[in-house]
Subunit: 329 residues, 2 copies
């Protein structure tokens, strides 16, 4: 229903991608549901399960859909090349890199006939990615959930579009309804990359308590912070922090980096093992400002179809209305 | 060329407003140029010049245009009611309040037959403004220059539109080209409120050195910070910080609030007196992430006409392209 250069390149119906959220949050069943609904599903390839988990998830997705799907990686981690190689061996032909220079990955992916995506947070990084030969650049705004940069989607996307043209650009961050999809297309994006809106889907890998917290939260409840990364001892590149729903742990440690480092030295293993309901108050509940659009648990396919239907309605109804006098004149 | 409920309400041609930037940055000549080009000019009514300066600027604007223009206020400051009364006495019929509960202002403005705008940064504040009877709500994203909130424009605007319907909404923050205008309209905004893009116009009240710095800066160069406010001893409401172009002063004091307070106790008068070229490194150069779109000094009227022409082109060209198969089917 919405055609762009990326629906053509990917061979999909709708220019909607789920974010390949790491840690098992975007498993094969989520990617398959998104692809089966006409979008492009992306498995979040980076988990503690390594290659074995990823291969299993690719096979699960392939069992659920004949349509194209891809795999995304947290590419500054040392196993990114190994994970990508496994995905390519399994026949995946769309790979998405984030948080690292894409240069080391492009040739191997192209040699396997794969499309290479790279997610960026600045115009300079976008330009570098295009120079490296990536096929698609994802521009991620600071309103995104999880790890992201400092510039907002609305001013970032058009600048990235200009900087990398004719390489197609995907908009990420803060997009969660049809109005956001329509707006992203007007900014020059050829598709949208959505994480938060998929967090409360049945197919998402997060816990039920996590889903409930996202449903309950509003966009004002998120914070961009390093406290969870410091506690976990999980380093991220400069200029990247994590957006999560504000919780007890954040309130306890915000602005106290030195004390937190000291605490973490003794309590890291214990902290990492917190799960279930307790994790909502203590671990990061990664989510973007678009959490305010998540008001129920849904099927991922319904989310895709809903987003596209709304976007088409906005474009068909709103545009003739604002261009009114031109059509008559 | 772009018709919305707000072009009708304001009696203007184009749904483009300049932000009523305080401190003399949005004087009568800027508001007049924006209105004369078909947008809605807003004088920034809050300066150290008080009522006298404002009355002079209103008269200057009236000498330059017969079209409607308005005045905006930094309304948590104690002279906001006095300034609004002066504007109403001078025949201004559009007033815009920011940074304060609009309740104390609405009745007096309505009694004078004026349209009341209120700028907000959260959905809760938007709902309250609508409950107070304001006629137009401006939703300002964190990417805006100067004082702003924490949520980005893209996720904020649609939620505000839903929260205050049928009250019309203006989108502010990060909008600086025709793609941004088109995107804002798709988000449900009925107009755009633009500050940064007008900073380097001939009519803007900032210094030539300030304009040059904005032209030179990119969107990655801005920071959201309290250091300048702390140094000046200028309090702002909770949840509001100032976005400025990163400079020496910021680098010296960021993260050192206690030390800065101590320094300011002895050096505040001296700090406040810094001006000219030295101010670029030491005082706040307020600007938004849209600074990356400002690449030359221009006439404000040309900015308005350029924005609208680009937005019309985007909507006319891009929309049929993405809706392609629907039109054929």
């Amino acid at each position: 229903m919405l055609q762009t250069r990326l629906t053509e390149l990917f061979g999909i119906e709708h220019p909607v991608l789920n974010a390949p959220m790491g840690g098992g949050d975007a498993p094969g069943r989520l990617a398959a549901a998104v692809s089966e609904a006409g979008g492009l599903g992306l498995i979040g390839g980076t988990t503690i399960g390594g290659v074995e988990w990823l291969v299993e998830q690719i096979r699960i997705a392939r069992g659920l859909t004949d349509r194209p799907f891809g795999v995304g990686f947290i590419s500054h981690l040392p196993n990114a090349a190994e994970l990508m190689a496994a995905a390519l061996r399994e026949g995946v032909r769309i790979v998405a890199h984030s948080f690292a220079d894409p240069a080391p990955f492009v040739d191997d992916a192209h040699a396997a006939g794969a499309i290479v995506m790279c997610q960026v947070r600045t115009v300079d990084a976008a330009r570098h990615a295009a120079d490296c030969g990536v096929d698609v650049v994802t521009a991620q705004g600071t309103e995104a959930g999880g790890h992201t940069g400092m510039v907002s989607t609305l001013p970032l996307v058009p600048r990235v579009v200009d900087a990398v043209a004719p390489v197609p650009v995907v908009a990420a961050g803060g997009i969660a309804d049809g109005r956001g999809v329509a707006a992203a297309l007007m900014l020059g994006a050829e598709a949208v990359w959505i994480g938060t809106r998929f967090l409360a889907t049945y197919e998402c890998g997060v816990s039920d308590a996590y889903k409930a917290r996202v449903v309950e939260a509003t966009g004002d409840d998120t914070v961009l912070t390093d406290v969870f990364d410091v506690a976990l001892g999980m380093p991220w590149p400069e200029g990247v922090s994590g957006r999560a729903i504000r919780n007890d742990f954040f309130d306890r440690w915000d602005g106290r980096d030195d004390a937190l480092l000291e605490w973490a030295a003794d309590h890291r293993a214990e902290y990492r093992s917190i799960d279930g309901d307790a994790a909502i108050a203590e671990r990061a509940v990664w989510a973007g400002e678009a959490a305010s659009f998540v008001t129920a648990t849904e099927a991922a396919g319904d989310v895709v179809r809903g987003l596209v239907g709304e976007a088409v309605a906005v474009l068909r109804d709103r545009v003739p209305s604002v261009l009114h006098d031109r059509r008559e004149g």
